[in-house]
């Protein structure tokens, strides 16, 4: 079955009467005119050389607008974390373009990249990555150090941030004295203390039980509502419910993206006819796609009725 046949069959299933062009035009109309926060074009990351050469990212095209909450899913080794590291300027790409706020990061010096990490990006790690010999408040205040803020002011800001996460009574605890959920909340507080516009979370609930996971996700959801751009890598399909956009990756490429119009997704889909290897993720993806299609169908019908 070729691509056109696939599109036709989908149209038949949903009883759509619009042409593919109409879908494109509609989507084009909805496109925001502001500069995207992140723009990736044909991004590649190669590891190893010769026979051991392996592309962790193999031509990733991605546009992220301000205020999006993106969940990136995919099987292990598909390039999720590599993508996140490149987005966070911790790693460089082998090929392709990465524009941050409309500016190519390839032109930025290491010092400038560090400054961007300090001022614009907040990292949340799966393994929390708190410095074990520093207490909670010092850990939270750490990113402010590299902004040249005085110690007293750093501690005041860190204390305020910890109060937001109901951890003000644990300020002088050491990291090992907290539960997993509390530790991750500290890590989120640390990521936010600089008031970054982009938050990159690499499996933030990977080491937490389901209750703690949902608490953390609620926190992230709150942040999203406040206008932060969040890019989260996760293996847990249930967490994608919090995201406004879900991207699945496979073999270093974007497999599906709920942000893309259906037709674009279908054009992408045949590359991997069997879909992602993770079964629950496929189900979730299908669920979200069908919801989206139902909404689309409804709006189109309203549009047609008004024309009549």
């Amino acid at each position: 079955m070729n691509n056109i046949q696939q599109i036709s069959s989908i149209r038949q299933i949903f009883g759509l009467r619009y042409t593919p062009n109409a879908l494109y035009n509609d989507s084009a109309m909805a496109k925001p005119t502001t500069i995207p926060v992140i723009e990736l074009h044909d991004l590649k990351k190669r590891f190893g050389i010769g026979d051991a050469e392996h592309f962790a990212l193999d031509g990733v095209d991605l546009v992220i607008q301000k205020g999006e909450f993106i969940a990136i899913m995919g099987p292990s080794g598909c390039g999720k974390t590599t993508l996140l590291n490149i987005l966070g300027l911790l790693d460089g790409s082998t090929d392709g373009d990465y524009n941050l706020d409309g500016r190519s990061v390839a032109t930025l010096s290491a010092r400038r990249q560090a400054r961007i990490r300090s001022q614009q990006i907040g990292f949340i790690f799966q393994s929390f990555n708190l410095i074990s010999r520093l207490n909670i408040i010092e850990n939270v205040a750490l990113p402010l150090t590299y902004k040249g803020i005085s110690r007293t002011k750093r501690l005041i800001l860190a204390s305020d941030m910890l109060r937001n996460f109901h951890l003000n009574e644990r300020e002088y605890y050491m990291p090992y004295q907290l539960s997993g959920g509390q530790t991750q909340r500290v890590a989120i507080a640390r990521a936010l203390v600089n008031q970054p516009s982009i938050i990159l979370a690499d499996e933030p609930t990977g080491n937490l039980d389901s209750r703690s996971s949902h608490i953390i996700m609620e926190e992230l959801s709150d942040l999203h509502k406040r206008g932060n751009t969040i890019i989260m890598v996760t293996h847990n399909p249930s967490l994608t419910a919090y995201a406004s956009r879900v991207i699945t990756m496979l073999d270093g490429r974007i497999d599906t993206d709920t942000h893309l119009p259906m037709q674009e997704q279908l054009l992408v889909a045949p590359k991997h006819p069997l879909g992602p290897l993770s079964t629950p993720k496929v189900i979730k993806q299908k669920d979200r796609s069908s919801r989206r299609m139902r909404k689309l169908k409804k709006s189109l019908l309203t549009h047609e009725t008004s024309h009549k």
Binding site: L90, D91, A110, A114, S118, F125, T145
Partner: protein, 410 residues
């Protein structure tokens, strides 16, 4: 930037505190190195000061005439072997002493002829006991006083001797030995005086008068087969202002007497103590260099411990980089830690060094000197140790890949 530096200092403090034992032991390495150098420098400066102080105490109207051509570089004795000089005949003679006596404004002249030989009484004196044959005026020029009896006199019996207090105890078992007999190179002498303790074995006469036997020049010649062998002539002018004129005059006279040959040296003021001081400084420099090896070991200790610290804290480096630290921030952070170890070791080494120096000086006849030069040497050495040996680990830390660092198992 100021806050960042302060933050690095606080961070170094925290890091060192969290590894107290390790940091302390590394610091100890530097402490030992700096302490040994401080001790050597303080003691050598003390020894040099002794001679200088003696010249100052005697006033500025003393000159010393020594045989041999003028040595432009006193340290050449150390670097160039010149064995024949030790066996060469002295160019100073009794005639010179008489000539110097005739110079205006010279009020005291004391030739110095130092012999060695067996000195014995109830028991035998140590082998290196100096036998000083001189004139009675030595007491005036060198400020020697007697605690009992009298100094050798020109009119007294030639077979008399004045001996040092310690020598008296060594050979007679008491410092009350007036009238007792002692044998010098087989010839009997009567003790007519006991010198007051000087506690100055290091002096411009190169004689430890506490352990010396002082006899007249005539007796000295008799002990030396009738030949005078004058190693030094001490001269005193009637006033400081007249010393220069007197020296010019005696210089002329001596050159004329030596057939136009300038085969003697006239030293005044600081020049008298300079060869001794320079010799001490040269020896101190040499021993301090050897002690510097221990400082080098301390520096290698800093590098070793900093490399361990970098390896242990690789993950922390990754975290800091992810949170916005630049390579320079990481370099400075680790460099400050190394500097703190070096400086801490330097300060404690300086203290320990002086404690040691004062401890050792209780067995010596001089005190160590406290001066700013030694502080500068100790601190600059420790700072450079910290910088030189901390730089490589710090650069290594800053070059760590953040991703690889974050992957390191905690």
């Amino acid at each position: 930037m100021r806050f960042l530096l302060l933050s690095h200092i606080q961070n170094a403090q925290q890091s060192l505190r969290s590894n107290r034992m390790r940091s302390g032991l590394t610091m100890l390495g530097v402490t030992i190195g700096v302490a040994s150098i401080t001790t050597i420098l303080a003691l050598s400066a003390g020894a040099s000061k002794v001679v200088g102080d003696q010249i100052d105490a005697l006033g500025g109207n003393i000159a010393v005439i020594r045989p041999g051509a003028t040595i432009s570089d006193p340290l050449s004795n150390l670097t160039q072997a010149n064995p024949q000089r030790d066996f060469a005949a002295s160019t100073l003679t009794e005639t010179d002493v008489t000539l110097i006596n005739s110079v205006a404004h010279i009020d005291a002249v004391a030739p110095l002829m130092v012999l060695s030989g067996t000195v014995k009484a109830d028991s035998i004196a140590p082998a290196q006991t100096p036998i000083v044959a001189t004139s009675p005026q030595l007491a005036l020029i060198s400020g020697l006083t007697v605690q009992e009896g009298e100094f050798i006199g020109s009119t007294a019996n030639q077979d008399t001797a004045t001996i040092g207090a310690q020598l008296s105890i060594n050979i007679f078992g008491t410092d009350q030995s007036i009238g007792k007999m002692l044998t010098i190179r087989g010839k009997q002498f009567t003790v007519i005086g006991i010198l007051k303790r000087t506690n100055n074995p290091i002096n411009y006469n190169s004689v430890d008068f506490d352990n010396a036997v002082v006899i007249s020049l005539t007796s000295g010649k008799q002990l030396n087969q009738g030949l005078p062998q004058i190693q030094q002539i001490n001269v005193r002018s009637d006033s400081v202002t007249n010393l220069n004129d007197a020296i010019i005059e005696l210089n002329k006279l001596l050159i004329a007497a030596h057939q136009g040959e300038h085969d003697f040296i006239i030293l005044t003021g600081d020049q008298i103590s300079q060869p001794t001081s320079q010799l001490f400084y040269a020896i101190a420099g040499l021993t301090a260099t050897v002690a510097g090896i221990s400082l080098l070991v301390g520096g290698i200790g800093i590098m070793n411990i900093m490399l361990v610290s970098v390896a242990e804290r690789t993950r922390e480096i990754g975290i800091r980089k992810a949170l916005g630290a630049t390579n320079a921030d990481i370099t400075v952070q680790f460099l400050i830690e190394a500097l703190a170890i070096g400086l801490g070791g330097g300060i404690s080494g300086y203290g320990v060094g002086y404690l040691l120096a004062f401890g050792i000086s209780t067995f010596l006849t001089f005190d160590p000197v406290i001066n700013w030069e030694i502080v500068v040497v100790a601190l600059s050495l420790s700072i450079s140790m910290g910088t030189v040996f901390g730089l490589y680990p710090a650069i290594r830390a800053s070059r760590k890949d953040p991703i690889e660092s974050l992957r390191q198992y905690n």
